[in-house]
């Protein structure tokens, strides 16, 4: 039975067991997920799963409940429907029920790369092998993963939709004497991931990160590479552009206000890569401009938060969204127009050669009189959601920049900084031209960003305290 047939069967069961007035929406997803993980330059964990899952939400007699399951036999589906209906009837009335999505045409999703969808463990292992070999004898660790999802939606309002998505990602480090260098990519095709290229990049950065010195805490100008910028986007998304948090006044976002530097444009673009064309409520997904030339334009909504805010869903419903809220998960920070990259040569000299791996970053570094080049951020946690003050650490390489040149490696630093303030008007001194897609911890989410130069970042502690 297809996913669409299963979803339709679940909706029909709700109608039969819950009566004609019962409202239902069902999502059925089959997934083939595989991840080949390596450490100490050998594959040590290699996993795959072929799963199926059903998500059901019902609204009956003014009350709402949700359920899920992995059993798609007739008995299993009946049990899911019965227990979800029973749960709904025991709930208090749901005053905020936003109703179901009416039948509407779905947007066209990008085609799925069948080779990635059917990828074998040997193909992932060979990319790992290439990464390890390209690291030139340095110890390496990381993963190569592929994901394929086939998903269908149906509701009792007569709406249905079907789509597929794939993703391939590779993330690895090379290590030299405790100094790590990283390379990380997300793509729509496994064939677009070059293990050797990534391994060489990680190794070059690890070599350049050797013998770091400790710097005192303070405010530093910074150049963030795409991996670090991805963390900014992720936290802005989850805590700022989240319609539930916005409705609760826990978000910094003020649509219409010039909250960011004019260089900042952020778009959620779920179909800019391989993605499902609909969300958990069957609303079509598409590009949503969150920040345009520094002015906040929108936050993400599902049907419930949109109804509360007096607007329409932006197609960001997720399972469990009533608790966590709708979150954009495919953000792209637009790069600047392509500029001269002639500074690439002089920004990476001497012991720090290899710290800068692309012309974009080199051009940004060239403009810094004194600051830090930061590859990656780690373990970032929010101290206050409304001001979005975050603490975390640098990781996988930090270097001191003096007079436009990377001069030496620096030990990791802890920071405590308000992300919107650091990106505020006048705070962005440069953006690279090319956004590099970074994988999330789960497939289907990604963060595309160029390198970014900021006027100030508050480092509140060094590696030794």
């Amino acid at each position: 039975m297809t996913e669409l047939e299963l979803a339709g069967q679940v909706v029909e069961l709700v109608r039969r067991l819950g009566g004609p007035a019962a409202q239902a929406e069902a999502v059925v997803t089959r997934a083939d997920l595989a991840l080949t993980r390596f450490a100490n330059s050998g594959i040590h964990q290699n996993v795959s799963e072929s799963t199926v899952g059903v998500r059901l939400r019902v609204h009956v007699d003014g009350r709402t409940a949700a359920g899920g399951g992995s059993v798609v036999t007739a008995d299993g589906l009946s049990a899911l429907v019965e227990r979800t209906l029973t749960a709904a009837r025991l709930c208090p009335p749901d005053q905020g029920w936003p109703g179901l999505t009416a039948p509407v045409p779905m947007p066209q999703a990008p085609p799925v790369d069948e080779a990635t969808a059917q990828a074998e463990p040997d193909q992932r292992a060979d990319r790992v092998g290439a990464f390890v070999a390209a690291a030139g004898g340095l110890s390496t660790a990381g993963y190569c993963r592929t994901a394929h999802r086939s998903s269908a939606f149906a509701n009792s309002a007569g709406h249905s939709a079907y789509g597929r998505s794939v993703e391939a990602a590779m993330d690895g480090i090379a290590r030299r004497d405790g100094a790590d260098g990283v390379a990380r990519r997300s793509a729509d095709r496994l064939s677009d991931l070059d293990g050797a290229e990534l391994g060489a990049q990680a190794a070059a950065k690890a070599q350049a990160a050797a013998d770091p010195v400790e710097l005192p805490p303070g405010h530093y100008e910074v150049v963030f590479e795409p991996a670090a910028v991805a963390d900014l986007l992720q936290n802005l998304s989850f805590y700022g552009f989240n319609g539930k948090r916005y409705n609760e006044r826990q978000s910094f976002a003020e649509p219409g206000a010039a909250q960011f530097d004019r260089a900042v444009t952020v778009v959620d673009d779920p179909l800019g890569g391989s993605g499902l064309p609909f969300d958990a409520e069957g609303t079509g997904r598409g590009a949503l401009t969150l920040v345009e030339a520094g002015t906040t334009r929108a936050v993400a909504h599902d049907r419930r938060t949109a109804a509360e805010a007096g607007t329409e869903s932006t197609g960001h419903a997720v399972a469990g969204g009533a608790t966590w809220g709708p979150m954009p998960r495919n953000l792209r920070l637009s790069g600047a127009a392509a500029g001269p990259a002639s500074a690439a040569g002089r920004s990476t000299t001497g012991a720090a050669a290899g710290a800068v791996v692309d012309a974009d970053t080199a051009a940004l570094v060239a403009g810094v009189r004194r600051g830090l080049l930061v590859t990656d951020l780690w373990y970032t946690r929010v101290l206050d959601p409304r001001s979005l003050v975050v603490t975390g650490l640098t990781r996988n390489g930090v270097w001191l920049i003096e007079d436009g040149t990377v001069v030496r490696a620096v030990r990791d630093l802890r920071f405590t900084e308000s992300y919107p303030r650091a990106l505020g008007p006048g705070a962005v001194l440069g953006l690279g031209a090319r956004a590099v897609r970074q994988p999330d911890r789960v497939d289907g989410a990604w963060w595309a960003a160029p390198s970014l130069r900021l006027a100030s970042w508050h480092f509140t502690g060094g590696a030794s305290g």
């Binding site: 749960a87 826990q250 608790t323 001001s387």
Partner: protein, 478 residues
């Protein structure tokens, strides 16, 4: 076909395909959660998941495959695919893999449970959260939230060495939090901790929390925090409440003693550890008051079980004794690689995930003091409690925590409430500064420990009590 039959078929198929060792876990998990906000039920979810995961060892390489189908054909196919994946792993081989011996037993185990949490009427559970959140809203909270979660997991484990173990573990818990929103910042107070307290128990745990009785107070405190003085910046004596100390243990001890991290297996993601195996048995981790145990046998604690997911029986061990590092959290393969003779701390987050080294119950043995004695003995300091933010580096050394609330301590007395309290430090230096420890121990449950790729969520327990630390840097802000 029984669950044991499915697991046995998967293991046999893996062996037939060329594995030298295989094990399989069938898991059936029912999950229920409810959230409430400002006097209304916000979301009710009930999930049920059944499936099988099989792990195969070929030479020095592992493979794993999981399916949601317990038919004989599906189980055998999963076993073959696990072996095929292990063979692919051999294209980039690691060092030789051995497994420390574990007696192959046939056994059953179940966690204690007085009141079946899934048997409590939904209306009763909903009323509990609705009433508590309504009370918080009436007492000044802009955002009054309540939550409970229930997991009821049955497992069947079979290995090619002859293990045949079934377990049933029921876990539940809950909590409430009140958030007040001011100009440019929010303040939150929770009970008994943000997103709740959890254990391997029945609904009696949630009843014992008496959420309704604390609703008004935390709402009023969250409102008062908006105008409380900022926690001052500087070095001072720090008293931590038990809930915050539990997370301090989790982050700066529990993860640091995970053997897979020490061996570099998590280097690219979760990170490594500052600990060096060559110093096991000799390294001074903390003061002599510091006695940390790894104990999955504590009745009702969230990290308790009868057997881990490799079939090793639950055994209590020392991790830190009189301040000295003496033990690790290990699995059968990592222990063999480190020339240790015990595993016992390997678990998987569901049937679709590979078992890996996880914390069980990692916590402090009780100290000789009480919180009131600690406060009375402190001339100038800050008391902080209930975690609000947590961050630590990839070697588990440099940490910074934020708490929901602080109190000024002056001349042995608790004074003004302080907002935005934070503290930061380096793990071993911090633990060596602990000079007073209470005996008022609670086994705090952490149901959201993230680790691994693909990501896994672990449930861990942390016995902890209030303690004092000297000369700690506090009041870090943006």
């Amino acid at each position: 076909m029984t669950e044991f039959d499915a697991a046995t078929a998967a293991v046999q198929a893996a062996l037939d395909a060329g594995a030298r060792y295989a094990d399989a876990r069938v898991m059936h998990r029912r999950y229920e959660s409810m959230t409430a906000r400002n006097g209304d039920v916000e979301e009710l979810t009930q999930d049920e998941s059944i499936g099988l995961g099989v792990r195969a060892l070929v030479g020095a390489s592992w493979g794993f495959h999981a399916v949601p189908d317990l038919s004989d054909a599906a189980a055998r196919d999963a076993g073959r695919r696990a072996t095929r994946t292990a063979m692919a792993s051999a294209r980039v081989p690691g060092p030789p893999v051995d497994l420390v011996p574990v007696e192959a037993v046939t056994a059953s185990w179940a966690s204690g449970c007085q009141i079946d949490p899934l048997g409590v009427p939904l209306s009763d559970k909903g009323d509990l959260l609705v009433d508590a959140t309504r009370t918080m809203a009436e007492h000044g909270a802009d955002l009054a939230e309540g939550l409970y979660q229930i997991w009821d997991t049955a497992k069947w484990f079979v290995s090619s060495e002859g293990h045949r173990i079934d377990q049933r573990i029921r876990e539940c818990g809950g909590g409430i939090s009140a958030t007040s929103i001011g100009d440019g910042e929010t303040q939150r107070r929770s009970w008994p901790s943000y997103r709740g307290q959890y254990g391997t128990t029945g609904w009696e745990l949630v009843e014992s929390l008496d959420l309704a009785a604390h609703a008004a107070q935390i709402a009023e405190e969250s409102r008062a925090l908006l105008t409380a003085p900022q926690c001052p910046a500087g070095e001072t004596d720090l008293i931590l409440g038990g809930e915050q100390l539990a997370l301090q243990i989790h982050e700066s001890v529990g993860h640091a003693i995970e053997l897979d991290r020490i061996l570099g297996w998590e280097a690219a993601f979760a990170g490594t550890s500052w600990l060096d195996l060559a110093q096991l048995g000799s390294l001074r981790y903390g003061s002599e008051l510091m006695n940390i145990t790894i104990d999955p046998t504590i009745p009702g604690a969230l990290g308790s079980f009868g057997f881990d997911d490799e079939g090793s029986p639950a055994v209590k061990r020392d991790a830190v004794r009189d301040g000295r590092w003496v033990g690790v959290l290990a699995g059968r393969d990592s222990a063999a690689m480190a020339s240790l003779d015990y595993g016992g701390s390997v678990r998987a987050d569901g049937w679709a995930r590979l078992p890996m080294v996880r914390m069980t119950n990692v916590g402090l043995e009780p100290g000789p003091h009480t919180l009131e004695e600690i406060i009375a003995a402190t001339d100038d300091g800050v008391l902080m409690d209930l975690n609000r933010s947590w961050s630590i580096d990839d070697k588990r050394l440099n940490f910074q925590f934020g708490c929901e609330v602080g109190w000024e301590i002056k001349k042995g007395r608790r004074g003004r409430m302080l907002r935005n309290p934070t503290y930061t430090g380096i793990g071993p230096l911090f633990w060596r500064s602990m000079d007073m420890l209470s005996g008022e121990t609670v086994s705090w449950g952490t149901p959201n420990c993230g680790k691994g790729q693909p990501g896994q969520i672990g449930h861990t327990g942390h016995p902890a009590a209030p303690a004092r630390f000297r000369n700690v840097r506090v009041g870090v802000s943006a």
